[in-house]
């Protein structure tokens, strides 16, 4: 009794070992430091609010009282409260949950869905009165006016936040599926498929953002058929929703900017495709045009050959007439010389040099031999200029 009264409220620091969680819900373990060890029990009424798991090796600060366990006559520490040493209880819980979810594969990139080529309808899970929705809507209004928005308003901090956020994600999935299936059946909802979900809240303290570290939220994001972008305002630590989400950004504005960027790059791509279309058709037409020109060329070439022949003919012709001219000239010259020679041979030319030609009047035969003459014969004599008739007086036969 003295012992129990004296040590009614003690703090003991040590490392947990031999941890056992009994089916009754009570925890039994040892607390030890390098010199000593003490048994400890943490009953279910005390441990039910623990956010983290107690594991061997955990350095802890325990608050409780010293008691005796009568069956063994052993001292033990009845733990009312246990805090991890050097790390906050919340942080430890976070680390443990993160480890667990990682082990289950919730963060695996293989499970991450591609964001749609262009989200035309975006679901936002956030507070409808918060800065996040305002930022997102403003940026969409400026940069991507055609995008429809479905807001699922939830509390983003406080005790109920996690379950509301998880529900919001589920609701948007259900809603989108309804729109998928109804195909016009439900007015207002038909055609309102959700292409992408943004889970968001503006910046805040680690505690403010804690809902986004809760298992419920992480599992809802993981289960979403629709790609989820986590946009929780933070500077340093990633939340579990960031890790599970298909894509994460650090601010709500950045989430909206993804959509605007997609739209702009698509517009640029379409513009580029249009240019390529124009280029290709121009190219096709040019190529065909070139073929036509080439064909026309081929067709034209017999004509060309004909012209060539004509030209050749012209050349030959002009060559021919030249030859003819020189032939004629030559002929004329030859004829001239013949004429001269003919002239030289003309007896008249001889006569002009003083010779004369005589012929008998009786028969006009030129007299070459005097023996044919006898006196009294009449003879005509031709001179270079004029002629006369004479009578033969005497004949001398050479």
């Amino acid at each position: 009794m003295i012992l129990e009264n004296t040590f009614a409220d003690v703090w003991i620091e040590g490392e947990v070992s031999n941890f056992k969680a009994a089916p009754s819900g009570h925890f039994y373990f040892s607390l030890k430091d390098k010199d000593s060890v003490i048994a400890a029990a943490m009953f279910s009424r005390s441990n039910k609010d623990l956010k983290f798991k107690i594991e061997d090796g955990l350095k802890a600060i325990c608050r409780g009282r010293i008691d005796v366990y009568p069956p063994r006559g052993q001292y033990q520490l009845i733990v009312d409260n246990l805090e991890p040493k050097g790390i906050g209880a919340q942080q430890l819980a976070f680390e443990q949950l993160k480890k667990k979810l990682a082990k289950e594969g919730l963060f695996d990139s293989a499970h991450k869905k591609e964001l749609p080529v262009m989200p035309f309808s975006v679901g936002i899970v956030t507070s409808s009165t918060g800065a996040a929705v305002r930022d997102i809507l403003q940026i969409l209004k400026k940069g991507a006016r055609g995008v429809n928005v479905v807001i699922r308003s939830v509390r983003v901090q406080g005790e109920k936040a996690a379950s509301e956020i998880a529900e919001g994600i589920n609701d948007l999935n259900k809603f989108s599926r309804q729109a998928d299936e109804s195909g016009g059946g439900i007015p207002h909802i038909a055609g309102n498929k959700v292409d992408m979900i943004i889970v968001s809240r503006g910046g805040g303290s680690v505690e403010d953002l804690w809902a986004f570290n809760e298992e419920l939220v992480a599992r809802a994001i993981y289960a979403s058929r629709i790609p989820v972008v986590s946009a929780v305002g933070h500077q340093i630590n990633l939340t579990l929703s960031d890790l599970v989400a298909d894509f994460f950004v650090e601010t709500p504005s950045a989430a909206a900017k993804i959509i605007v960027d997609k739209k702009n790059s698509l517009l640029a791509e379409i513009d580029n495709l249009q240019h390529q279309l124009n280029f290709s058709i121009q190219e096709t037409i040019n190529n065909l045009n070139n073929s036509v020109i080439a064909l026309r060329h081929t067709l034209k070439s017999p004509l060309d050959r004909l012209l060539e022949k004509q030209q050749l003919l012209d050349e030959l012709y002009s060559g021919l007439s030249n030859n003819m001219r020189s032939f004629l000239k030559l002929t004329r010259e030859t004829a001239g010389s013949y004429i001269k020679r003919l002239e030289a041979l003309s007896p008249l030319a001889v006569l002009s040099r003083g010779y004369s030609l005589s012929m008998a009047i009786s028969n006009d035969v030129i007299i070459k031999d005097a023996s044919g003459l006898k006196p009294k014969d009449k003879v005509k004599t031709i001179l270079g200029k004029g002629s006369f008739i004479s009578t033969v007086e005497e004949v001398n036969n050479g």
Partner: protein, 80 residues
């Protein structure tokens, strides 16, 4: 009304395919012109879908397990 996501993606893919086919230059002039015309229409449709200025901002409400959409009043945002 914004173009349906699926048909937009299909149109875009079709457009990309047409551009490839035309670039290969193996089509006849008639085919080329036909594809070109289709491509231009698709490009116009796609960029119009993106430039569409009409949009809706709605709140998804849940009452007794049933979903409904309500117009969202952007003036109601206070901001954090």
């Amino acid at each position: 009304m914004a173009k349906d996501k699926q048909s937009f993606e299909e149109d875009l893919k079709r457009l990309q395919k047409i551009v490839e086919e035309l670039a290969e230059g193996k089509l006849t002039l008639g085919e080329s012109l036909k594809k070109y015309e289709e491509g231009v229409k698709l490009a116009q449709g796609c960029s119009q879908a993106l430039s569409d200025a009409q949009r809706k901002v709605e709140l998804l409400m849940k009452k007794e397990g049933k979903s409904s959409l309500e117009e969202f009043d952007e003036k109601g945002i206070k901001g954090d």
